[in-house]
């Protein structure tokens, strides 16, 4: 069962920065990187408890695309959600795609197999 939800036109996403989206009460941080890829992770910063991941600086560590929490600056892998400064911490990752110029995010992992 697919649960793709459109959040905004792709052109509305700044390059190399994020935005927050609200889906069914859940907060998702959506990013578009310089290579025109899209990533969606939870907006919840596990280190501060604030909903701020979307406001972090995007970049890379080695070959991994990353976002740094704007509060205490821990760095997360945008593709896997893995925190690269603390192996025990990981952000939830959501599937994201662009369809007819709209950015769509799916909540919950089952959408992957849909």
């Amino acid at each position: 069962m697919s649960q793709w939800a459109s959040i905004c036109p792709a052109a509305r996403l700044p390059v190399e920065r994020g935005v927050a989206a609200l889906l069914d009460g859940e907060q998702v941080a959506v990013f578009r990187t310089a290579d025109n890829r899209f990533h969606a992770v939870s907006n919840f910063d596990p280190f501060s408890g604030a909903m701020v991941i979307s406001r972090g600086i995007v970049g890379s560590r080695g070959d991994r695309p990353t976002v740094a929490s704007p509060i205490y600056k821990q760095v997360f892998d945008l593709e896997t959600g893995q925190c690269l400064d603390d192996s025990a911490v990981r952000l939830e990752v959501h599937p994201v795609r662009v369809l007819d110029g709209m950015v769509q995010v799916a909540l919950g992992a089952q959408a992957l197999s849909a």
């Binding site: 959040i7 406001r55 972090g56 600086i57 890379s60 990981r90």
Partner: protein, 856 residues
């Protein structure tokens, strides 16, 4: 092969460390058919938390922040945490445990990690309402609840924990007394004289101390509780906290028939094995190497042993270091090694300064060549260096007395990281030796403290060893011939000054060009903001346009200051601290209409906290319409120019300090720099503006101004040095222009002016030569750069309001731009909002800022 089950009883600090290690070392690999599953039974209702840091809960650290378990940790398929489900019985023959809800779990290995319980002396009246212990989060919640409406409290026990508890009661506003049975405070750690020094320091803080006091009975009276002592007057209080020691929690072990030590605790051997097959005990419930260890480090060491054994290793536990350092109520106390000089022939060296509140004692061998232990009260800054030397064969340098005399930089003379032997334990919490740290640098490729922390664990528990770790990393890198790299990060080999230089000389104007020509990868939270700041210093323009918007750091990104809960603060500019009543009213109205927490800052302005992203433009609109601007409390840029009232009103003033402060603030506002810049102007030598604690300080003289540079408050305070004397305003301003611009051109990232000048070859004389005699031929360029800045300054908040594209950034959600972030919650305190703590975020307490009046 079948999978095996490890059952852990108790999810405290040590129990959790054991589970963490089991994962880290690959014991619980979920994929391995012969791997282990771990079932953890916890009596408490919350997962393991930092009991060592428990008291910080009273200072606002939340239960979530204390939690030791990262989110998602127990999602691991091989881990199972059962909260509020204590084990009630163990059957060592059947190899099963039974929990309170009746579940029976078979085990292949069992670990008891039940910790200890607070000891309550058998005094009549010791239990009942108003009487508490100090061990769990639950205890603290009860104490806080009871303290509401109470006026006074007593702590029974003047040891380490008792003093922590007393500090907690004091912070709850109670008139607090510490009652100690022994003749001095902290009798286990410090000696008589140290105890006296400590007592004076504690009393100076307003906590009463009663030593040699044996509590005989606690009576319930109409007014509260009355403590009656063997001698002296009784004490009437509203509540009593027991902190008279701990007892190993070995009740379950006793019921199981495991052997226990005479003084309590599950008796274990060097492998931490108890008296039944495959049953281990670790942490405070275990009696290992002849005793129970009431600190977390030995428990962590035991957890290591058990995991090693389960993996087939042979490691043993033979004892641990009982050194402690404690910092509470601002009092620094440390005790290490043979603090009481019990070693035969030991000599004691004592240094005491009752006025400064400092007492230090070192215990050395009979030939005064080796350190055996010591006690430091009032100033324990030498502890991180002294502790690892304790009990080693390192020969002390020079006269041991040198070690005791206080130094300004903390570390005693002649003793540094380099004197430590390779085996010295640098981090006692995680048992990391100097050799391990050095190897992490030389072979492990670690290049900074963060790397060493991640790779060895050193410095991650109590943090007291971090300074020493840093010294070791520096020494080790130097030894490898690797100068501490000046590269900004993995994306740029350039230092900040180097980056500034290429941007300036080549006229680079975009990040893409800079990255393509001088960097690699895609950048990060270090190089991007640095580049953003440099691009802004060299060509002032709107900082959020196009590509530059993506580079900005946390606060610059939204032109306001991000707070811990995701809201922002706005600090309207109040140049020189002068404000008209009308503007003051506008600020008040904005604060009221947006329900913002309002506070006078240390920089002569007013900070408004708790604004949501989408409210920022509405707030700026109100300020701009009233002829004001928001201000830079963010950005590495000019903060405030603090003024005194000066000649205009003050009977001592000799120049118009307020006007000059306003002129300087308006001149330099918005200039992006390597770190923040602060200034101050005082109207006479009385110095009410504290100008000498600023980066640039100006003090009026009969004939003009004196200029001071390089002052700093903050982490390492420093008074500014006299740079120019008795100059007129024009000379003064031109000189500040040049020094400031030179700082922008050449300082390191996040280097304030004080360390910049200190690191400058030739120091102040060199600086004078450059900006006054133009020794480098740079002045024309510095002047031009400042002229351009002043001419092109533009109010970035008004510029945002004027452009709908720019405003689009200031929305909460891209798909619901006006929907307030539902996670933000406030409670009211003293008539204003403050962020709700996580334990308060229930629906009843949520009170979002009400937007009563918003102008369209």
């Amino acid at each position: 092969m079948t999978r095996k089950t490890l059952v852990v009883i108790g999810h405290g600090m040590v129990g959790h460390r054991l589970v963490e290690l089991a994962v880290e070392r690959g014991l619980v690999d979920a994929e391995d058919p012969g791997g282990w599953d771990v079932v953890v039974h916890a009596a408490e209702s919350v997962p393991a938390y930092d009991r060592v840091g428990l008291s910080s809960w009273f200072r606002g650290t939340t239960a979530e922040e204390l939690c030791l378990v990262p989110d998602g940790f127990f999602d691991h398929p091989a881990l199972d945490l059962r909260l509020s489900d204590p084990v009630v019985a163990v059957d060592v023959a059947a190899r099963t445990v039974t929990s309170s809800c009746g579940t029976v779990t078979p085990y292949d290995a069992l670990v008891l990690a039940t910790g200890s319980t607070a000891f309550v002396p058998p005094v009549p009246g010791a239990t009942g309402p108003g009487r508490f212990v100090y061990r769990t989060l639950d205890d603290l919640e009860q104490i806080r609840a009871a303290a509401q409406g109470a006026r006074s409290g007593a702590v029974i026990g003047g040891g380490l924990l008792g003093l922590e508890a007393a500090d907690a009661l004091r912070s709850l506003g109670l008139d607090t007394t510490v009652v100690e049975f022994a003749p001095r405070l902290m009798p286990v750690q410090v000696d008589e004289a140290g105890g006296q020094a400590l007592r004076r320091l504690v009393e100076d803080l307003g906590v009463w101390v009663r030593t040699s006091a044996a509590t005989q009975v606690i009576e319930q009276t109409d007014a509260g509780l009355r403590m009656v002592f063997a001698e002296g007057d009784p004490l009437d209080v509203d509540l009593v906290v027991f902190s008279a020691g701990i007892r190993p929690d070995d009740a379950l072990a006793r019921r199981t028939g495991l052997m226990t030590a005479e003084r309590g605790g599950v008796l274990v051997d060097e492998a931490c094995l108890a008296s039944a097959p495959d049953v281990y005990a670790v942490g405070e419930c275990a009696s290992a190497a002849g005793r129970c260890w009431g600190l977390v480090a030995p428990g962590y060491a035991q957890a290591e042993i058990v995991v090693d054994r389960l993996l087939g290793g042979e490691r043993t536990f033979t004892g641990a270091d009982l050194s402690t350092r404690l910092k509470l109520m601002g009092i620094d106390v440390a005790s290490f090694g043979d603090a009481h000089a019990l070693t035969p022939g030991a000599l004691e060296l004592v240094y005491a300064d009752p006025v400064a509140g400092v007492y230090a004692k070192l215990v050395v061998t009979d030939d005064a060549r080796h350190l055996l232990g010591g006690i430091l009260v009032g100033d324990a800054s030498a502890y991180p260096v002294l502790r690892p030397l304790t009990g080693t064969d390192v020969v002390l340098p020079g006269s041991p007395a040198d070690l005791l005399l206080p130094r300004r930089d903390g570390a005693p003379a002649g003793l540094g990281a380099s004197t430590l032997p390779a085996t010295a334990q640098v981090c006692s919490c995680r048992a990391v030796s100097k050799a391990e740290i050095c190897t992490a640098v030389s072979d492990g490729g670690c290049r900074d403290v963060a790397g060493v922390k991640a790779c060895t664990g050193a410095g991650t528990v109590c943090g007291s060893c971090v300074g020493l770790v840093k010294d070791l990393v520096k020494d080790e890198l130097a030894g490898l011939g690797v100068a501490m790299s000046t590269a900004l990060c993995e994306h740029f080999e350039l230092s900040r000054a180097g980056m500034f230089e290429v941007v300036r000389v080549k006229g680079i104007r975009t990040w893409s060009q800079l990255l393509a020509e001088h960097g690699r990868g895609r950048g990060c939270d270090i190089c991007k903001p640095t580049a953003a700041s440099i691009l802004a210093s060299l060509d002032s323009g709107y900082v959020l346009d196009g590509e530059r918007g993506g580079l900005q750091d946390t606060n610059d990104h939204m032109l306001a200051n991000l707070q811990k809960d995701g809201t922002y603060s706005v600090v309207p500019r109040i140049p020189g601290g002068e404000v008209t009543p009308e503007h003051l009213i506008v600020i008040g109205e904005v604060a009221r209409d947006f329900s913002l927490y309002t506070k006078i800052t240390g920089g002569q302005r007013i900070d408004l906290f708790g604004a949501r992203v989408e409210q920022l433009p509405l707030i700026w609109r109100r300020l701009v319409d009233a002829g004001m601007e928001s201000g830079h409390a963010y950005g590495k840029s000019l903060r405030t120019v603090k003024s005194c009232v000066g000649q205009t009103w003050c009977r001592f003033g000799v120049q118009d300090s307020t006007s000059l402060a306003i002129e300087l603030e308006l001149r330099y506002r918005g200039l992006r720099s390597p770190h923040k810049v602060k200034m101050g102007v005082s109207g006479c030598a009385r110095e009410c503006a504290e100008a000498r604690s600023k980066d640039f300080g100006v003090i009026a003289t009969e004939s003009g101004w004196n200029l001071y540079v390089g002052g700093n408050g903050g982490f390492r305070p420093r008074h500014a040095d006299l740079f120019l004397q008795d100059v007129d305003t024009a000379t003064l301003v031109r000189t500040i222009d040049r020094v400031l611009m030179l700082y922008v051109f050449t300082a390191d990232r996040l280097q304030r002016t004080a360390p910049w000048i200190e690191a400058m070859e030739g120091g102040l004389d060199h600086l004078r030569a450059v900006v006054l005699d133009d020794s480098l031929g740079l002045c024309a360029e510095l002047d031009a750069a400042m002229t351009r800045h002043v001419a092109t300054y533009s109010d970035e908040w008004a510029d945002t309001l004027a452009d709908p594209d720019r405003l689009a950034r200031f929305t909460s959600f891209v798909n619901a731009p006006d929907e307030p972030d539902p996670s933000i919650a406030f409670v009211r305190e003293r008539g204003q909002i403050r962020p709700a703590r996580s334990d308060e975020k229930g629906p009843a307490l949520v009170a979002g800022p009400v937007l009563e009046v918003v102008r369209a």
